[in-house]
Symmetry: C2
Subunit: 417 residues, 2 copies
């Protein structure tokens, strides 16, 4: 068996306060035909990253709706995850080596996972490239162990500039699924041949520790512990330290904005995997760009930053950045908007879905534009608050977990019809 | 150099609300002669466990008082920490093998740490047995690198029943220090020959994420995520899964108490190191004792339990247990009392300092007594609340970080006189 992930319990009822009674009633109606349906989500990791965060909410809520939903994590190894990291980067458009040895390492591990796969399911949802070939190798086995399940491949990545060779390697595995799910139409490669290509953007959980309401004294205390002065203006970006998130560009934009906003502080908060040397490398690059500037604070889980601290930082920020150069979907964008903070995002991928230009934030494609928009919002707090308020309503309509669940249930209905 | 631990920033001013203006004024006066004093704390780990938690508060507060305080972590290895875990268990009275190979592994690693030791200090505080021999090996080096520093050994362990051979191995290393610090007089072995043997119990940080005030809706939501029903009575123990904490005894006591308190729930919350097979073994033993009982919930960091969740669990509990069989000091006892919850503690070690029998909780030495006291408090909520209130005041007087800091400063003054 793959590794079963222990689940939190989530109860839909209190989500009425966030999403409205109508949305919850509709959700319950959509779920009715699927009471008892056996649903399995498979991904590569139980901790860290947006996919694990999404599953930590979606699977418990599916259970509360009466589905027999489960979450399992595939088997891996350091070598395998090295290869899938290259796949991830290549699909996002990076120039990475792609060798036969890497393909073999992928195939071997996926065969092993197909052999370990167990259970009878109605729907199997495979997340991202790591477990994408399980179905293919299940069908290759002497006994067809696919059963009557409908298989769905959920791609969380922006494939706009995907490396052709890597994508062509994956494509046959993907195409065996009954449907594929994408965040935006732009992400779907033209070469993909599948009957069902469905668009479902991700969503945030208003009742997770990352998003639950926190009182101001709690926010102040947490910020203080990280040298952030809540009486001075704060710019904040929450994301991994990697080139796609452009932390160095954020630092440059901060320096320009600070000229117009005396006392401005920048907080870069991210998470570092202790076994990810790349993360430390990009942390060092950002640290170098920081050049000892006392108004720039860089923190991560190494400094004990977890969900509740991120929650506090987003609430304390006067303006939130997500200056990504490539982004499937920026959960942190919707998180910040939900907290009523305006967001300046990179003009790329899913961020363009989340921010309505000039309404709840701005989209930018350069350090200079980012700096100018930040200064604009920081010098007009009333406008910043109004945009944050718009953003909260936009998230309420389109980017809460309840909407995401409804979309999954509609797809199940479609596949069952 | 040993590894420097990144520090949070802590500011004494808001502690006035918790400890009172007089205590803060006294603390500032005590610190005045030590402005600029170079203080180094050394221990074995930056994460996990009570010592790391204490240092995470004490070092930043010393800095806020004007001392140049730092925290460094010694170098180790899996083998070395295996040996020091045996030392720890032997000092607590367990029957563990103690071989020449183990002594050699300890000595080799400590020599290595002495060579890596750097800096000029006024006070060096060595925590627990792991780094206890650094001073000895520093003095052995060709050049005496001790400088003019005063060295203090801080023992967090209850040595009442210490294994004689292991203690005699450590004793010469310990005795080189200028002072040793203990939680209670009972913990100090009769054989110890030192001029300065000082008593300083640990303390809790009222402004850490584990202890800051949380609103009831936040508490309810967190509990719900872990299947805890805040409308039914809750018994809770927060501690590692190991025999000294007696999780199986807690489960037995719960079953007896439940007979008088229908609907009672038990929550066992602990942290598990992924590299500690022993922890998983004792988790399994507790899981077996639980025997699928839906009213008993066992959670750990594997289920994403961190400081803010522990905070919520302690606030949600009607009665908190710390049924230890051996305990240097139960931080969780003072944490729960600070939240106004009465605590039933094992009649052992530092717990007897923290709980005043019949005033803010009870001390017990058997499953049956534990169950009877729990039922007594659960069936009389008004009395439970009153005892919790007493406990909060007792913690305010004796077990907040501000008192701990004052004690350290008094010891520095004593050593400088």
């Amino acid at each position: 068996m793959l590794e079963r992930v222990p689940l939190l319990v989530k109860d839909l009822a209190p989500y009425e306060d966030d999403a409205g009674a109508d949305a919850i009633a509709e959700l319950r109606a959509l779920a009715e035909p699927f009471r008892g349906a056996r649903v399995l989500h498979v991904n590569a990791t139980a901790f860290g990253g947006g996919v694990a965060e999404l599953l930590g909410t979606v699977v418990p809520l599916m259970r509360d709706l009466g589905l027999e939903a489960e979450w399992q994590v595939m088997h891996g190894s350091d070598e395998f995850f090295g290869v899938t990291k290259s796949i991830h980067n290549a699909l996002q458009g990076a120039d990475v080596p792609w060798t036969l040895e890497m393909q073999d390492a992928y195939v071997d591990k996926l065969r092993e996972n197909a052999l370990a796969f167990e259970g009878e399911w109605d729907f199997v949802i495979i997340h991202d490239p790591q477990p994408a070939a399980i179905l293919a190798f299940l069908e290759q086995a002497a006994i067809n162990r696919r059963g009557s399940a409908k298989w769905i491949w959920r791609c969380h990545i922006d494939l706009t500039d995907a490396n052709e060779r890597v994508w062509e390697f994956l494509r046959p595995y993907v195409e065996r699924h009954d449907a594929s799910v994408w965040t935006m139409p732009e992400f779907v490669p033209a070469s993909l041949e599948m009957d069902r290509v469905v668009l479902i953007p991700p969503a945030i959980d208003p009742r997770s520790v990352k998003n639950l309401h926190l009182d101001q004294p709690f926010v102040d205390e947490i910020c203080h512990q990280y040298r952030i002065d809540t009486h001075r203006p704060i710019m904040c970006q929450v994301s991994r330290f990697d080139p796609w998130k452009d932390p160095v560009g954020v630092i440059e934009a901060f320096r320009i904005a600070r000229e117009q906003v005396p006392g401005l502080q920048l907080l870069l908060a991210g998470s570092m995997a202790t076994d990810d040397p790349e993360g430390f490398h990009y942390w060092e690059l950002a640290e170098k760009a920081r050049a000892g500037d006392p108004d720039i604070t860089m923190v991560s889980n190494i400094q004990q930053v977890g969900s509740v601290q991120i929650n506090a930082f987003q609430r304390a920020a006067d303006v939130v950045l997500q200056k990504s150069l490539r982004e499937g979907f920026g959960l942190t964008v919707s998180e910040a908007l939900w907290k009523g903070r305006p967001v300046i995002g990179g003009q790329c991928g899913g961020i363009a879905l989340q921010i309505r230009e000039g309404e709840d934030g701005f989209l930018v494609d350069s350090v200079e534009k980012c700096a100018a928009r930040a200064a604009e919002l920081l010098t007009d707090p009333a406008r910043a608050d109004a945009m944050g308020g718009n953003g909260r309503e936009h998230v309420r309509e389109r980017f809460l977990s309840t909407r995401l669940l409804a979309d999954w249930l509609r797809l199940f209905a479609d596949l069952s019809g």
